[in-house]
């Protein structure tokens, strides 16, 4: 012991120094990034990407000039060369004048240089100016021009240059079309551009950069500055690095510094300053969440309050000053509140009847209500739309026949706020039902029995004991319904949008599709949604959790079921009726619609039955592809997720290591964040502006799924592990098994069903996800949920119903597996 102490001190010192070094490195990178930000702010460009574009453009023009144009110029006669030079200067200065009305700066600029440089400068300037302002070479012509082979192309380019010098010279045939009726400067510009295009595919990159430049450098003076920089070659590698990557630098710096700090806090806790591998795992998970979850959210917050780099409440103001936004906010709040109230009012009596009384078939009903939780909400929306459509809705047709009403639309209209509330309620009450049921199962039944022997009737007991005891769970279930309804996109987009009942989520998606100018409004709404969700999450996880009464009894007594007596049959009928209305009818509608030819008529009517919808939908390549995508994305998300979940469970349940709560907190926050907010955050930060460009890829979708659904998997594994007493593992280790062996032989097999259940709990919602996919998909990464939505909106309702029922079958199959694995004991 004595001898090992000095070496321990030495390694502790090394550890501290290393951490300090990392911390300082992080800070340095942050300062470096901040310097770049300042420089960029001073440059007056509206985006850092402009800086990058300028840099590339500058390099490309230089290359084009040196490597390609110079040798060809030499092939021209001296006179032609001179004429070309004159023309170039002329074109350049006129371009300059066009840009900068009436100024004489270019003349000064040109006069400054010596002859050779002036020529090069003029060329570059011309090139940049005309790429930005001149006429464009169309794609077809571009193809024709680039199709020319080596020698031909050389001759073609030389001829072009000759024509530039001499207007009477004969144009090569390919260029004739291009120049057309153009004359004078425009003709020259076009020829010049054609010349560049003929230099091949390398130039297409430049065109892209120019487009970026045009998009991002909007104001004229900034454009002029950009051209000047190109002309003079003022943009250096360092500038580009500093300015173009300042955000990335800040991000990396913050992460390095934060990691060092977090590690230092962790290490300070155990005083040995020895590195523990577990900390690295925590750091890894935290960094992942920090980068893909917290950073986008924080960036969105910053963007909402500093839209143009300076503090402004404009984005927030637009939430209530712009009527469309205000309507969406109002609708969202009304719909979510009403869904919460109705959902809870349904869920509590159902949970009580199913959990505490001798209702017929209570176990069946329980399984049924839990199943609805697994069904994608948009499928419900589709079904209710078929049933309550004011014109052809089945229920409306029946009602009209029954009440002898005229053929006018109605009497019920699903395309309305009440319609939306009804569908939201029928699909989100299970959230409250599951929460309340779980709490009720955990409640010591003797608390109710004590009330009974005290002389209270069963009903009285419900109100004096059960309800007050359940209140915290009831409220947290209600809040869960509120958040879910508020964040829902599928139902409002299918039912609300056609009826012009917009919600925050549908508005966000529409704003995002508008592009850059919609992004500010989208950000404002997303921040509104996010803050609301975070507040509610805080309320239910921190405030309510502390008020939860822990009353698990030591003895596992089968609770005495309340005798419903003469109410038993009527209540069973009532619950069955509810199940029929909320579950059976919608699902049957989906199934029947999928066999229809004419949507308006009954599927059972002669000649209206077909299997073609199924054949067509599942025979299409796009369906198969999107199904494949869904399976792959959801599997990857579930697998990565379950690995993180197992790691986290181990850290939370088996170690007392400090900092294990940090990733736990982040994961909980992620699952509480509304889907569209997560997606929007990822869009805004993962398109290359922070050095990571996964926009339009599968990664961005998988990451989004992970952030949203990781917690479900984690909770399942954590609760399974908490039920395995440590002594089971300890006795294995005492028996001589290594840690790894213990994990594989003892802990692993014991919690395997929960690990599998956790995997499916991440898999299912990722599989049919719609809200995030709508924002994140690209043509190659469409998933089944989105494909279904597209079919519903643009193609055919029967076909999309076939697809929806297919999804339902898959979900039910998985639910069945899940039920077998967990015996119905999974939590949400």
């Amino acid at each position: 012991m004595q001898s090992s102490l000095p070496s321990r001190n030495r390694s502790a010192l090394a550890g501290k120094l290393l951490l300090l070094g990392f911390f300082l490195l992080g800070l340095w990178i942050v300062f470096y990034g901040l310097r770049g930000m300042r420089e960029y702010a001073a440059s007056g460009f509206s985006s850092e990407t402009a800086y990058q574009a300028i840099y590339h453009l500058h390099r490309e023009t230089e290359t084009a000039w040196n490597r390609k144009l110079s040798p060809q110029l030499k092939a021209l006669s001296g006179e032609d060369q001179l004429r070309l030079q004159e023309l170039t200067e002329q074109l350049a200065s006129s371009a300059w004048e066009k840009q900068k009305k009436g100024g004489a700066a270019l003349a000064d600029l040109l006069a400054e240089e010596d002859e050779d440089e002036r020529e090069a400068l003029a060329q570059k300037l011309l090139y940049a100016a005309y790429l930005v302002n001149g006429p464009k070479v169309s794609t077809a012509n571009r193809k024709a021009v680039t199709a020319l082979s080596g020698d031909e192309a050389g001759a073609f380019r030389l001829q072009l240059l000759r024509c530039l010098c001499d207007e009477s010279a004969e144009l090569p045939p390919t260029a004739q079309k291009l120049a057309g009726d153009l004359s004078g400067e425009e003709r020259a510009a076009m020829l010049m551009q054609t010349w560049y295009v003929s230099n091949g595919s390398a130039d297409s990159g430049i065109t892209e950069q120019v487009n970026t430049l045009k998009k991002t450098v909007r104001d004229k003076s900034a454009q002029l500055d950009a051209f000047r920089m190109i002309a003079r070659g003022e943009v250096s590698v360092t500038d580009q690095l500093v300015v173009g990557h300042s955000r990335t630098a800040i991000l990396i710096g913050v992460i390095i510094a934060f990691n060092a700090l977090l590690l230092a806090v962790l290490m300070a806790g155990d005083r040995t300053w020895q590195l523990d591998v577990k900390w690295l795992i925590i750091l890894l998970i935290v960094d992942f969440l920090l980068l893909f979850q917290l950073m986008p959210l924080v960036y969105m917050l910053v963007k909402a309050f500093f839209p143009e780099g300076s503090f402004s409440l404009e984005t927030i103001r637009r939430l209530h000053t712009y009527p469309l936004n205000l309507d969406a906010v109002k609708n969202t709040l009304i719909a979510a509140s009403a869904t919460m109230v109705f959902g809870t009012l349904l869920a509590f009596p159902l949970a009580w009847l199913v959990g505490r009384t001798n209702l017929y078939g209570r176990k069946f009903f329980r399984a049924l209500f839990v199943l609805t939780y697994m069904v994608p909400p948009y499928v419900g929306a589709m079904a209710w739309l078929r049933l309550l459509n004011p014109n052809v809705g089945t229920v409306n047709q029946w009602l009209r026949a029954l009440l002898r009403l005229s053929d006018a639309p109605g009497p019920l209209n699903v395309y309305s706020l009440p319609g939306m509330i009804w569908v939201l309620t029928s699909f989100y009450y299970p959230y409250a039902f599951i929460t309340i049921s779980r709490a009720m199962e955990k409640m010591d039944p003797s608390l109710e029995e004590a009330s009974r022997v005290s002389g209270a009737s069963p009903l009285k007991t419900v109100f004096t004991v059960t309800l007050p005891m359940m209140l915290p769970s009831l409220i947290s279930g209600a809040l869960l319904v509120f958040v879910s309804a508020m964040s829902c996109y599928g139902i409002p987009s299918i039912i609300g949008s056609p009826g012009r009942v917009h919600t925050v989520t549908t508005r966000i998606v529409e704003y995002v599709s508008l592009g850059q100018q919609g992004l500010n409004d989208a950000t404002g709404m997303a921040v509104f949604l996010m803050l609301l969700a975070v507040i509610i999450l805080f309320l239910s996880d921190v405030v309510l959790a502390k008020r939860q009464y822990i009353t698990v009894s030591g003895k596992s007594v089968q609770p005495a079921l309340v005798e419903l007596r003469r109410w038993r049959v009527p209540l069973t009928v009532l619950v069955s009726l509810f199940a029929v209305i909320v579950i059976l009818i919608p699902f049957t509608t989906i199934l029947l619609t999928s066999f229809k030819i004419d949507v308006g008529k009954s599927a059972l009517q002669a000649g209206n039955f077909t299997l073609n919808n199924w054949k067509t939908v599942f025979g299409r390549v796009e369906t198969v592809n999107s199904l494949k995508n869904s399976f792959v994305f959801a599997s990857v998300a579930a697998t990565v997720g379950i690995v993180i979940a197992c790691t986290m469970s181990y850290l939370l349940q088996r170690t007392r290591i400090r900092g294990r709560k940090v990733p736990d907190f982040l994961i909980t926050l992620g699952s509480g964040t509304p889907s569209v907010v997560i997606a929007l955050g990822l869009i805004m930060t993962m398109k290359g502006n922070f050095g990571i460009n996964i926009y339009n890829t599968a990664y961005i979708m998988i990451i989004a799924y992970l952030i949203k659904y990781l917690m479900m998997g984690m909770r399942t594994v954590v609760s399974a592990m908490s039920q395995i007493h440590v002594s089971l593992e300890e006795s294995s280790q005492v028996s001589g098994a290594s840690w790894t062996r213990t994990m594989f032989r003892i802990t692993g097999p014991l919690i395997f069903p929960s690990i599998a259940a956790g995997w499916f709990l991440i898999f299912i919602p990722s599989f049919y996800e719609l809200s995030m996919t709508t924002l994140l998909y690209s043509s190659t990464t469409k998933t089944i949920g989105f494909q279904l939505y597209e079919y519903w909106t643009f193609t055919s309702q029967p076909m999309s119903c076939a697809m929806a029922f297919g999804i339902l079958l898959i979900v039910m199959l998985i639910n069945f597996i899940l039920h077998r694995l967990t015996k119905g004991e999974f939590s949400i």
Binding site: S446, E449, S451, R452, A456, S553
Partner: protein
């Protein structure tokens, strides 16, 4: 103040028969204990009396009124009983006063009257100062008393207690034992008490019903059951006992496993018998009936727990603590027998041991 009459009650959960033809009468003002190992059906019997379970067949009468049986079923709230649960079942969302007052509140007793009653009952259970506290601020023993006070406040004819002390620590359990007994004696109510702890049963009960596997094995006063167990199970369950296989003939019982040594026997049985000897009924004598060698002694303070090898058998002897010094391990000793019990060797012992070990 109440009698309970149970007639041929059978209770089955599916195929699992928990109670078989259970019949008993609890007299007015009696302290009855249902005693037995876990899973014997005693709690189910109590819950049937309370009305939380319905008997599969048979009847239960309280004060001569049929409460369960046939088509009749009176729900728990209408039986006028008090009950204390193992988990206390004190409502965490109400303070002590409200918890205790609950049965009266349900009966719409005037507020002032409730106040005096609660004060009186809290006085009985020594909780007067805690009326405003919430259960989470109370210790386990205090919560237990709240539950007791709540069960007593409506002055029930019958008080049911379901292992009320099993979650308390040893010291508290002992003092609560006497408090409950004291309260019962003072109020003169009929108490049905369920426990698996023989000491609780012995100290508190007027009569014990010893139950095993859904059937009453024996009922009687603690002394009767302890001294005259009707079978091996009863003998084994109450107190410490060792069983020896022997053969009764010619006024002696011979133990083959003790090298053929024997003890005098004047009872009626002959042939193969199970002899049950309580270790405290053996003593070291100058000239005893069994000869052996002292193997080990465990000094426990009040008593000395010894093992004596007699033939091939280890015999347990519990003597007074002050004997400890006088004997050494390995010493040859002679054992006297104060008392023993003889049962027919009907295979029950083997069955019982198989289950209990």
């Amino acid at each position: 103040m109440a009698t309970v009459n149970i007639q041929n009650v059978t209770k089955a959960f599916g195929d699992n028969v928990v109670l078989r033809e259970f019949s008993a009468t609890f007299r007015d003002g009696e302290f009855i204990t249902l005693l037995g190992p876990s899973g014997c059906g005693k709690t189910t019997m109590l819950r049937i009396i309370a009305g939380f379970e319905k008997p599969t067949s048979g009847e239960v009468f309280i004060d001569g009124t049929l409460v369960s049986g046939g088509k009749t079923f009176i729900p728990p709230e209408k039986r006028g009983i008090g009950m204390v649960f193992q988990s206390y079942a004190v409502w965490p969302h109400m303070n002590v006063f409200d918890n205790v007052a609950y049965p009266l509140t349900i009966r719409h007793v005037p507020r002032a009257e409730i106040r005096t009653s609660v004060e009186r009952v809290l006085g009985i259970v020594h909780l007067s100062r805690y009326a405003d506290r919430f259960p989470s601020q109370l210790s386990g023993g205090q919560q237990q008393r709240v539950a007791l006070a709540r069960a007593l406040i409506a002055e029930p004819k019958l008080l049911l207690l379901d292992e009320p002390l099993s979650n308390l620590d040893a010291k508290l359990r002992e003092s609560m034992r006497f408090e409950i007994k004291e309260i019962q004696r003072r109020l003169g109510i009929t108490v049905v008490y369920v426990t698996h702890d023989q000491t609780e049963a012995m100290t508190m009960s007027d009569r014990i019903f010893l139950i095993n596997r859904g059937e009453i094995q024996q009922c009687g006063t603690p002394q009767e059951i302890y001294n005259n167990p009707v079978n091996q199970f009863v003998a084994d369950f109450l107190g410490k006992v060792d069983f020896f296989k022997g053969e009764a003939k010619d006024g002696r019982i011979v133990f083959p496993a003790m090298g053929g040594q024997s003890i005098p026997y004047a009872g009626p049985r002959t042939g193969k018998v199970d002899v049950a000897i309580r270790p405290e009924n053996l003593f070291f004598a100058e000239d005893g009936v069994l000869q052996g060698v002292l193997e080990t002694q465990y000094y426990l303070g009040d008593v000395d727990d010894c093992r004596v090898r007699v033939g091939d058998t280890l015999v347990r002897v519990i003597t007074n603590g002050y004997d400890h010094q006088s004997l050494r391990d390995g010493q040859a000793v002679s054992l006297g027998v104060r008392d023993f019990m003889v049962f027919e060797d009907d295979g029950l012992l083997e069955q019982m041991l198989e289950i209990n070990t």
